[in-house]
């Protein structure tokens, strides 16, 4: 009965919608609680209490913030380009959601298990810059524009090293499929043999998501709030959600590329009883904790230092590592052959 229903076109559509909801609803909840986690963790690191009034341990704080944000007035600056001004936050938010279609949460368990999954993720994350650039330009404000320009240069620079790191991970895998990348880490996670690349990728992820210590696009000390200085209410909320969803996505990428995705640390009995999605979530939470830890620890980079780090340190090093990896795999005959 159920089998017949899902074979029809309507059944397919319903199934796809349900699959998408099964990813998006937990994601949005995770974003809501990530904001709370950030405030709580940073409070603990700075010996404060953090939000603790709304609900037990402040658990309702996320919803209080959301309601506050929705009920505020949307202000559109008089000189702004109306359509693009409102389009930018939607673009940022929807791109952050779109990327999750290919993330595998179990063996082959993704909404779309496509062959070029890692390229899709790279493409979506490189599109994120448009939301910021368009917001900066459409706001018709100096600070927003400077923030947008900074962000564009920063994200394009760090994408180069991210791309090279991904190539050196793909060399021993021999496939662009995310599930294959995880399966290739059955014996040892890539963070062990490629530890420097793991660190490099993580730092680049910080720059790509405009997080501290690379949060120059919104540097409040000189640009007030950077690219979203003119935004209020729900439009600001969408930027906010998009930034945190991107953080979770980047943590997911770190987990998939270097920490074995949904694989348990060791393939032995008590660890394999825990289902794959929980392992992935645990790894993502670990990465997010480090994101917050970095924010609470490091002062902001100066802009020329940021560019120097990206182009003169990360790029040559990741290029060298990529060539070294290819050479090593060729010399030891470990290069994957005949994989499609």
């Amino acid at each position: 009965m159920a089998h017949f229903f899902y074979d029809t076109t309507a059944g397919h559509v319903i199934l796809i919608v349900l699959e998408a909801l099964a990813v998006l609803v937990p994601l949005l909840l995770a974003v809501a609680y990530l904001t709370l986690m950030e405030r709580k963790v940073m409070a603990a690191m700075q010996m404060r209490k953090g939000p603790n009034v709304n609900g037990v341990f402040g658990l309702l704080q996320a919803f209080a913030d959301a309601i506050k944000m929705i009920t505020k007035e949307t202000i559109i600056p008089s000189g702004a380009n109306r359509f693009l001004f409102l389009f930018a936050p939607f673009l940022t938010f929807s791109l952050a959601m779109l990327a999750w279609a290919v993330v595998p949460t179990g063996n082959g368990l993704a909404v779309a298990n496509i062959n070029v999954g890692i390229l899709y993720l790279l493409a979506i994350s490189s599109l994120g810059v448009y939301g910021i650039l368009i917001a900066g330009w459409a706001s018709n404000s100096k600070y927003a524009f400077l923030g947008g320009l900074r962000s564009a240069a920063q994200m394009v620079s760090y994408e180069v090293s991210i791309g090279l790191v991904i190539v050196s991970v793909l060399l021993p895998v021999g496939s662009l499929n995310l599930n294959d990348i995880i399966l290739a880490q059955r014996h040892v996670w890539f963070c062990v043999p490629m530890f420097p690349m793991f660190i490099l990728f993580f730092i680049s992820a910080l720059a790509e998501t405009n997080r501290a210590p690379f949060d120059l696009p919104e540097g409040e000390s000189e640009l007030v709030a950077g690219f979203f200085v003119e935004y209020s209410s729900l439009a600001f909320g969408l930027f906010f959600l998009g930034e945190y969803a991107n953080m979770i996505l980047m943590s997911g990428m770190v987990s998939i590329l270097f920490l074995g995705g949904w694989l348990p640390p060791l393939g032995i009995a008590p660890l394999t009883w825990i289902p794959g999605p929980l392992w992935l979530i645990a790894k993502i939470i670990f990465c997010l904790f480090v994101f917050i830890w970095v924010r609470a620890t490091f002062p902001r980079y100066r802009y020329d230092q940021l560019m120097r780090l990206g182009w003169k340190v990360f790029l040559p090093f990741s290029l060298l590592w990529m060539i070294g990896t290819a050479g090593f795999l060729l010399a030891t005959g470990l290069l994957p052959q005949g994989m499609s």
Binding site: L84, N115, V129, I134, L149
Partner: protein
């Protein structure tokens, strides 16, 4: 059926946004329509089954090239009335160029010979023995095995372009803002900081004043900045004294 509908939607948006690129008043809107056109082209690639090319189009053109376009166009200060001034004068010239290109296109179509030209044989492609390949693997095989030298030639052309761009923008600026990171890292406390044991009631000035040793990284600064004397110490002192009197 569904594929055809999607194809026509992508094509229609592609052609429309292509038209908008040249007809939009605002150059920023033009670039944004160009990005939309890239996107729809990627969609068409995806329908044709060329998933690798599709993703590459988005990553390279939309994610990097168009960002730099937008970056530059946003910073342009364009006067629209001035831009349209020359329209009458240049219209015939533009029409002539367009006409020549259109005529060439028509001639090409008239002499189109299908199946006469055979692309160099490719082994290991789709449907070849040795198992089904994804188009990533097939493309890699073609480019790195069969067309290795032309590929390297392309790389060299790009390298030359890159070196040219760097040479054009590289300037040797003799300013005090130059920084040597290794010197900065090699700096120790005793290089810049002197601990003076001052007797009670004595000022720092009487004990030599604030000093910066000459072997610190401030050496690379231009004279007159960062406390480096402008010419000679005597001249600096004289000018400082003048400043006090004024």
């Amino acid at each position: 059926m569904l594929t055809q509908i999607v194809f026509y939607v992508f094509s229609a948006v592609l052609v429309t946004s292509g038209m908008m690129v040249i007809s939009a008043r605002n150059p920023v809107h033009s670039v944004l329509f160009l990005i939309l056109a890239f996107f729809n082209a990627a969609g068409l690639f995806l329908i044709a089954g060329a998933e690798f090319l599709s993703m590459l189009l988005v990553i390279v053109y939309v994610g990097a090239v168009a960002v730099l376009f937008l970056f530059v166009v946003m910073m342009l200060d364009i006067d629209f009335t001035k831009m349209r001034e020359g329209l009458q004068r240049y219209a015939p010239f533009g029409a002539a160029v367009g006409g020549v290109l259109f005529a060439e296109l028509v001639m090409t179509f008239l002499h189109w010979e299908t199946s006469a030209v055979v692309v160099a044989p490719v082994t290991g492609g789709l449907g070849e023995p040795g198992g089904p390949h994804t188009n990533t693997a097939a493309l890699g095989n073609v480019i790195y095995t069969h067309y290795f030298l032309p590929f390297q030639g392309c790389g060299l052309v790009l390298l030359v372009a890159m070196i040219g761009a760097i040479t054009l923008t590289l300037r040797d600026r003799p300013t005090g803002r130059r920084q040597d990171i290794s010197l900065q890292h090699a700096r120790r406390r005793q290089d810049t900081l002197d601990m003076l044991d001052l007797p009670l009631g004595n000022s720092v000035e009487e004990n030599g004043g604030f000093r910066r040793p000459a072997d610190s990284y401030y050496v690379t600064a231009i004279p007159g900045s960062y406390g480096i004397p402008a010419e000679t110490p005597e001249a600096a002192k004289a000018s400082a004294a003048k400043g006090d009197h004024a």
